[in-house]
């Protein structure tokens, strides 16, 4: 075989025995086995230096395929030739021992890959650093979240030396930052002449990471080619198949339900049917699918149900639909009549044909558009303005192409005109393009391109872009990691955004318009520069869903960051981890946090610890510590603690405490009537430091 071919599969056949589906109904005793083919004559050659993504429906044999390549499973017929050493990571959490610490598990797992202990110990600090697990590395693995586990597992793999890496669904867990780090690592491997095969259900990951993709279907390779093409074809096939969508929709997928409603609307693969369209729209809207809500609102509005339409627009807007946001603000905002008049004036002005007027008119129409006709009209004005070289018009135009409002949806076109405007020096267009490329929500994610645009925009002095450039440089996203350059940009950024003026601006904003969207932006910017107060406020917004889409992860994430800097957030973070039954439940972590918060003088943390030691539920009961923390908390002015020390019942109005244990603690307390004779701590001047 060719020198560069590292895996060569010819005529692979494999079948599993399954219970005969004909007789299985209820009579399992007769389980007669029949052969079920998985691969029927599969041929594939993989060359050195490829990252190959393997896709296909569940049960199409992706995992079996990897198992055959790694020679765990033997083929029935055909040949599998592999050149070089294989490292297969078919399940990231395999072989972790829950009771052993992360560190011990790194050693254990490396040994399972055949790396001698000595060598692991030589590299262990690098591995730990790569895993980003920090202080948790010496805690037992059973306390880790699934994301942390896969980070740990992936870090071990980084140290494995092999020629071919097989990875099964590895990059699907773990947060964004780690996923991109991991996919960077795979790319680096390939650059150094290794080969990577991996399966994933995340089309984005495959597109971003792979050079080539293979689509397994009908027991063989159905399609093989550049990753982009294969993924697009695969996505299309899944989307277009009505049957598929129907079953997904019935299974409760809101995006499938929305898609199905569009099939009924457009007569795509099914007969047109307004009743069905309506039904699926309602279903999808119920599951808060923004586009479905917006579209349903359109229908309701045309039927005259203004009230419900309004609330749906609002909901959709909160879920991130720009379209709905516009419509909602128009409905709520200025007088309709006034707008109509304004529109007429603008139309008249636009008659002149000056690009500026064309743009203004188009923009107004776009921003106040309610119906598709409005959009079409706006599109006409805007594209004329754009043709005449008014690049500002390209931004709303790109948005229209992106969302498919007023014109057929065309991402390629959207990118093209946005970049055109950016190319001609429009800073807003640069920043918009960069944001879109980085987000990867509407445009294909492309950090390098995003970086390019941020950099150009930053050079023109845009502070937000300067900040982004600095961040991307320091974490090596879309560019090579360069701390020094990053620092230069941070300095430029901070000189643009003088810190004090920002704080003043924020205070003013806080007093005036809590609902002003700019307030949120400032909050975000401030929390990125580690302003604890802003972080906590922003986190609370995420948790309560006030002004933001409700996002628990973001809340926890922000609180984690904030708790590095101050004690009070640590207590609140601990409360999250103490919530029984929630996915975040992690008492060990909570205890660590509480202790450190108490150590930095947070009286609420002390009070909380006192209660925990008394309850003895998550740690051993220790009345001595209970008394100690209680006194400390009381001395620092915690009212509940004081009340307890004095043998009174603590006040009920306790906002900082969420549901759960504290209530129980109090109830017990009341029954027992604490007789502690600890002196009343009146001398202290400190206010309760946990109050934000």
């Amino acid at each position: 075989m060719d020198d560069d071919v590292v895996i060569s599969i010819k005529g692979l056949k494999k079948s599993y025995k399954i219970i005969d589906p004909q007789i299985s109904k209820g009579k399992l005793k007769l389980n007669k086995m029949v052969e079920y083919p998985i691969f029927d004559g599969l041929d594939l050659e993989i060359r050195r230096g490829d990252i190959v993504g393997i896709l296909g429906r569940n049960g199409c044999g992706k995992s079996t395929f990897l198992k055959i390549v790694s020679q765990i499973v033997e083929p029935d017929e055909g040949t599998v030739e592999v050149k070089g050493k294989i490292a297969s990571i078919l399940e990231l959490s395999m072989g972790f021992h829950g009771d052993m610490s992360g560190r011990d598990n790194i050693i254990l797992r490396s040994e399972l890959y055949g790396i001698p202990r000595k060598e692991v110990l030589a590299h262990i600090d690098d591995i730990i650093e790569y895993s980003d697990l920090g202080v948790f590395i010496d805690n037992p693995v059973r306390t880790y979240s699934s994301g942390m586990r896969s980070r740990l597992a992936f870090s071990v793999m980084v140290n494995v030396d092999a020629d071919i890496f097989l990875v099964d669904e590895a990059l699907s867990t773990g947060d964004m930052a780690f996923a991109s780090k991991a996919s960077e690592h795979l790319k680096n491997l390939v650059r150094s002449g290794k080969t990577v095969l991996f399966t994933s259900h995340s089309m984005g990951t495959i597109k971003r990471t792979c050079t080539r993709a293979v689509w397994i279907s009908d027991h063989k390779i159905f399609m093989d080619g550049p990753a982009d093409e294969v993924v697009d074809a695969y996505t299309r096939s899944i989307n277009d198949s009505v049957e598929e969508t129907m079953s997904l929709a019935k299974g409760g997928s809101s995006s499938a339900q929305y898609r199905l409603s569009t099939f009924y609307r457009d007569g795509n693969g099914v007969e047109r049917n307004t009743a069905e369209q309506r039904r699926w729209l309602e279903e999808a809207a119920l599951r808060e699918h923004p586009m479905a809500m917006s579209e349903l609102a359109d229908i309701l509005l045309s039927e005259g149900d203004r009230e419900r339409a309004e609330s749906l627009y609002k909901q959709a807007a909160e879920n991130g639909s720009y379209d709905a946001r516009r419509k909602y603000s128009t409905m709520k905002g200025a007088d309709r009549k006034e707008i109509e008049e304004l529109k007429d004036v603008m139309r008249e002005l636009a008659e002149s044909g000056f690009p500026y007027d064309l743009y203004n008119c188009g923009n107004l129409l776009f921003k106040t558009a309610m119906t598709r006709d409005d959009y079409v009209e706006a599109f006409g004005y805007l594209s004329k303005a754009s043709e005449l070289g008014w690049t500002d018009a390209n931004i709303p135009l790109a948005q229209m192409y992106r969302e498919g409002t007023g014109v057929d949806r065309d991402i390629g076109k959207s990118i093209e005109i946005l970049e055109q405007a950016a190319e001609s020096g429009n800073t807003r267009a640069m920043a918009t393009a960069a944001n879109n490329f980085l987000e990867g929500k509407y445009y294909p994610r492309d950090p390098e391109r995003a970086f390019k645009w941020f950099l150009r925009s930053a050079l023109t002095g845009n502070p937000k872009s300067q900040y982004q450039v600095a961040i991307m440089l320091s974490s090596g996203i879309g560019t090579e990691k360069d701390e020094q350059k990053a620092n230069e940009w941070f300095i430029r950024y901070s000189s643009t955004m003088v810190n004090d003026s920002r704080k003043i601006a924020m205070e003013t904003m806080r007093k005036r318009h809590m609902s002003d969207p700019r307030y949120n932006d400032i909050l975000k910017a401030a929390s990125m520069s580690y302003d604890v107060n802003s972080m906590v406020t922003l986190a609370t917004k995420y948790e309560t869903g006030h002004g933001f889409k409700k996002k628990h992860e973001a809340y926890v994430d922000l609180m984690e960051k904030a708790s590095i800097a101050a004690g009070a957030p640590r207590t609140r973070l601990a409360e999250i981890y103490l919530e029984e039954g929630s996915t975040d439940y992690n008492p060990e972590k909570a205890l660590v946090l509480l202790h450190s918060a108490a150590g930095s003088g947070d009286s609420r943390a002390m009070y909380r610890l006192a209660m925990i030691y008394k309850e003895g539920k998550i740690c051993e009961k220790d009345m001595e510590k209970h008394a100690m923390y209680l006194t400390m908390a009381a001395e620092r002015g915690n009212r509940d603690a004081k009340a307890l020390v004095q043998g009174k019942r603590p006040k009920e109005s306790d906002k900082d405490f969420k549901k759960g244990d504290p209530g129980k603690g109090k109830a017990k307390e009341q029954g027992k009537k604490k007789k502690s004779s600890k002196p009343k701590a009146g001398k202290d001047k400190k206010e309760d430091s946990s109050k934000e």
């Binding site: 599993y16 198992k67 790694s70 020679q71 765990i72 499973v73 033997e74 294989i86 297969s88 078919l90 399940e91 395999m94 072989g95 021992h97 009771d99 052993m100 254990l108 040994e111 399972l112 055949g114 790396i115 001698p116 202990r117 037992p140």
Partner: protein
């Protein structure tokens, strides 16, 4: 490939992958009792407790108690506990996730699980021998030297049994449960707390059909009676160890290819 050269190749494979083997053993030992206070000693609690109970029971009941009965008990109890635990047949099923997800010589899971139990018996024996030496009992040094050989033979025997039982358990789950019941029964027909010469009637008729008896009796000869073991016992130990290893490994190697699919 004939069974013997397959076995030799397998031994080489296991040796080449000894890092994985030791990692598995460590996972089984250190991992299992992590965060417990007495750790590995939990392994020894059951046999020690049995010895104490038996000692008390039988010294109280017997009209003429056996002299130094505790040596007799401990010489037999540890090997029997070891053999029965390696016969539970969980080695392959219990390590399904490695078998299905990792490319490595699959016999390692068997060797690792037997080795884990084996460490216990070695550990316990070191302790027992120390006590024997300290209490000034008569020691036959030739026998003591042979003890090492016999321990290795017992290891090989258990390896063979485990190969056999673990393989069958993959396909017929009931065997695993059956074995844990059977082991209880076998315990009572193995001379751990009675002398073979005392076995009468039915017990006397079947006691020599129990392969455990040969190993246990060898240990009794060496540790309790302080003599070099009877040649018959030695020959039988060798025959049992190697025949079980051969048969067990043949079965294992014949079926191991199907493990990833069945598990």
């Amino acid at each position: 490939m004939d069974p013997i050269s397959r076995l030799v190749k397998s031994a080489k494979d296991v040796y080449d992958n000894r890092i994985i083997l030791m990692a598995m053993v460590r996972r089984n030992t250190a991992g299992r009792y992590k965060n417990s206070y007495i750790g590995f000693a939990w392994h020894l609690i059951l046999p020690v407790l049995m010895i104490v109970v038996m000692y008390i029971t039988f010294t109280a009941i017997r009209p003429r108690p056996l002299e130094d009965f505790w040596i007799y008990l401990s010489a037999g109890m540890f090997p029997v506990t070891f053999i029965s635990s390696s016969l539970r047949g969980r080695a392959v099923v219990g390590n399904a996730k490695y078998i299905t997800k990792m490319k490595f010589p699959r016999e390692i899971v068997i060797v690792a699980s037997v080795l884990t139990d084996y460490l216990t018996v070695v550990f316990a024996y070191v302790f027992v021998i120390l006590v024997i030496l300290l209490s000034g009992q008569y020691v036959n040094w030739g026998g003591m030297a042979f003890l090492v050989v016999e321990l290795i033979l017992m290891f090989i025997f258990c390896l063979g049994c485990s190969f056999l039982v673990s393989t069958v358990t993959v396909f017929v789950k009931d065997v695993g449960y059956f074995m844990s019941v059977a082991m209880r029964l076998v315990f009572w027909i193995t001379p751990t707390f009675f002398l073979v010469s005392e076995a009468k009637g039915l017990l006397g008729a079947i006691v020599w059909y129990n392969p455990f008896t040969y190993f246990v009796e060898t240990f009794h000869d060496i540790l309790y009676y302080g003599i070099f073991p009877h040649p018959n016992l030695v020959v039988m130990s060798v025959i049992l160890a190697f025949s079980f290893l051969l048969v067990g490994s043949m079965v294992f190697f014949h079926y191991e290819k199907r493990f990833p699919e069945v598990l």
